[in-house]
Symmetry: C2
Subunit: 394 residues, 2 copies
């Protein structure tokens, strides 16, 4: 049998990151390639106690079909937390529970984009989102994130000329992979442009709560007075990644359509874990738990940066995140990146090559992504030292 | 903000069944409308014990990201069971764990269908699949299932003339909603036609193991010697529907592409429940447990049929399933179905109107679907009696 795949999925390749993840079975490798939260961030004992309560209190409901929009108490908790803590969400907004942040991104793209439509995104950007857009046949146009987010003038230049832009995709806070955060000024400018040209923004914020230094910056959604921003959140980085629970908060008309499409996609998200998530919030709240994760990542990030300052040649530039899981190292233009990554691998070091995160697959990239949530402090110290020795030859 | 949705999702309406499900909060209603397995089919105590073991033995792995293709031991168990018990799956086949059977159907459609392509399916058919196909812009062509499956001549007539057929979607065993089973002869004929015209078959078999009478009939996939059939299975009806775990078994080339697209959809299926499912199979096997479910459904189905024979006027025809969850009642042509369904509702009886299951939305349908897995025996007796009284006026 020879299969002929649909035009939109035919060119899709597996995400390099997931492939790297699969091959990371060699215990000698120090991996800075992961996108995983630290396993120390999973409140295992508490989840176990609450899981037992669910098995005893609501065995039938937790194992039975649920409604597509999500377990109602969890939806209400998410809405309440977004509003009270982040001033995010208004009366015209609605919330739907998704099977991880990834599904929210995928469904928004499916609902808004015909094949050949344009999605404006950041360069670099989250590969999972880029591939979701590609899988719907969208054309990606990337804008460089720089130090504090995309340039609004460049955004307007696209919006003015390309009438097929259906979505602006942004990760304004602790951007993956660049580790930078968009300034308040730019957030306002981008929102104004979205309104002027009536193009929805998808604000992806899986890391927003993981701030370990600096001042909080309001979400774009918090300034959205007409429902043009759809906000994607996730419990992956604050409770458990493997449970696949995220959410969208957006205009009820959009969320209603997303629900209809989610119904055809997976009917609903794992019911037991939605209840478990809800019970956790009810019993313990999230704030204290998230504070612990921030403490851990602050420590790891500071260690990584100070070791990099000690060991890396000056010509290697890198971002200094205020939160999240990643930082972004950039080599001088013209560096042989293929050779560099191979040299790292030969020295049992894994990082993710920056080319993975390019909306434009032909764009040269002299950067690589480093993760500090997964490795131990010892691994960071040792790994960065090894990398420093490799980098001396470049 | 006024949203403009993509062409493929714009006309999509929420599935009537999920809407009915949402409104079934009135405790006086006797519902034959569900598609749910009986809560008695959930092995709650066993799952609880095993869940505790997972929390203790593999807390990090069960709450962390997993690989897209699924938890490896579960994939191997699924393959092993399909091969040894159903002679299904060959060396060129591969298996992927999906977030319920629904996701498998959705991903296969996405991978194979461009907008405007044709999917051949049964009339009536599973609304979740029909809406998944519609959400990809596919054109549905339905063939009447009759008493023992679609007519192969009618299938060939379409395959001969319509060069855009990309998929043949069938539920050969205990069809939802009709409750019929395709004969072995027709299975062979349909497979031959698929091979002749090189059009893949999606064999959806979520109910196949729930046989409570009659002789087992080989799956179409078991006769597939070239990888043209992709087989969809699910744990929803045999372990837990709310956990959302299903699987696809098909040619490795197709499954490889499905995996790439699943990665963009939800990264992977809930890891904890994949491990729980695997542990259940490992510890208890599925056969004994499924036997118990079959005993329950046999009893319920027989009760429903004997009560219908007693209470329904002769002009109401209905199918007599050998397994699964549903039977299908058909009124004489010209019956005012809207009035009938409303009369049932006024008498606190819920069924699903047959029009819901039509691939062709303009097709008249004088049938309705009855579910016997959810109601108790008492509810079946009482509900069918009430329905009999309503039906006397038609």
């Amino acid at each position: 049998m020879e299969f002929k795949f649909s035009n939109k999925v035919e060119p899709l390749k597996p995400s390099a990151i997931r492939e790297i993840f699969k091959s990371l079975t060699n215990p000698n490798v120090i991996s800075f390639a992961a996108g995983n939260p630290s396993p120390l961030s999973f409140p295992v004992e508490k989840l176990q106690v609450l899981a037992n309560q669910i098995f005893e209190e609501s065995p039938a409901a937790s194992l039975q079909y649920g409604i597509t929009e999500g377990y109602m108490p969890l939806r209400r908790q998410v809405e309440e937390r977004l509003r009270s803590k982040f001033n995010t969400g208004r009366d015209f907004d609605d919330t739907i529970i998704t099977s991880g942040g990834q599904q929210g991104i995928d469904l928004v793209a499916k609902v808004l984009c015909n094949e050949g439509d344009t999605v404006v995104c950041e360069t670099p950007s989250f590969i999972g989102a880029l591939n979701a857009f590609r899988s719907h046949g969208a054309v990606l146009k990337g804008l460089d994130v720089g130090e504090d987010g995309i340039n609004p003038d460049e955004l307007e230049a696209i919006l003015k000329t390309d009438k097929r832009v259906k979505l602006i995709y942004l990760i304004p806070t602790f951007q993956n992979p660049a580790g930078i955060t968009m300034s308040l000024e730019k957030r306002k400018a981008v929102l104004d442009l979205a309104k002027k040209y009536q193009v929805p923004i998808l604000e992806d914020n899986p890391y927003g709560e993981l701030r370990f230094s600096g001042e909080n910056i309001p979400t774009i959604k918090s300034m959205d007075d007409e429902g043009i921003v759809v906000y994607s959140g996730s419990f992956s980085k604050v409770l458990s990644a493997g449970m696949r629970i995220g959410f969208l908060c957006g205009h009820s008309e959009l969320i209603g359509k997303v629900a209809v499409v989610k119904q055809t996609n997976d009917v609903h998200t794992n019911q037991f874990f939605q209840m478990l998530c809800s019970k956790f919030i009810d019993t313990y709240g999230l704030d204290e738990h998230i504070k612990g994760i921030c403490d851990l990542y602050r420590e790891n990030c500071r260690t990584m940066i100070s070791e990099m300052e000690k060991n890396f040649p000056d010509k290697v530039k890198f971002t200094r995140p205020d939160g999240g899981l990643f930082l972004w190292c950039t080599m001088p233009d013209g560096t042989d990146m293929k050779k560099l990554i191979a040299d790292f691998v030969a020295n049992d070091i894994a990082v993710v090559p920056g080319s993975t995160f390019m909306p434009d697959l032909n764009r040269m990239c002299y950067s690589f992504r480093m993760n500090y949530s997964m490795p131990t402090k010892q691994q960071i110290v040792k790994g960065v030292e090894i990398m420093g020795n490799v980098l001396k030859n470049y």
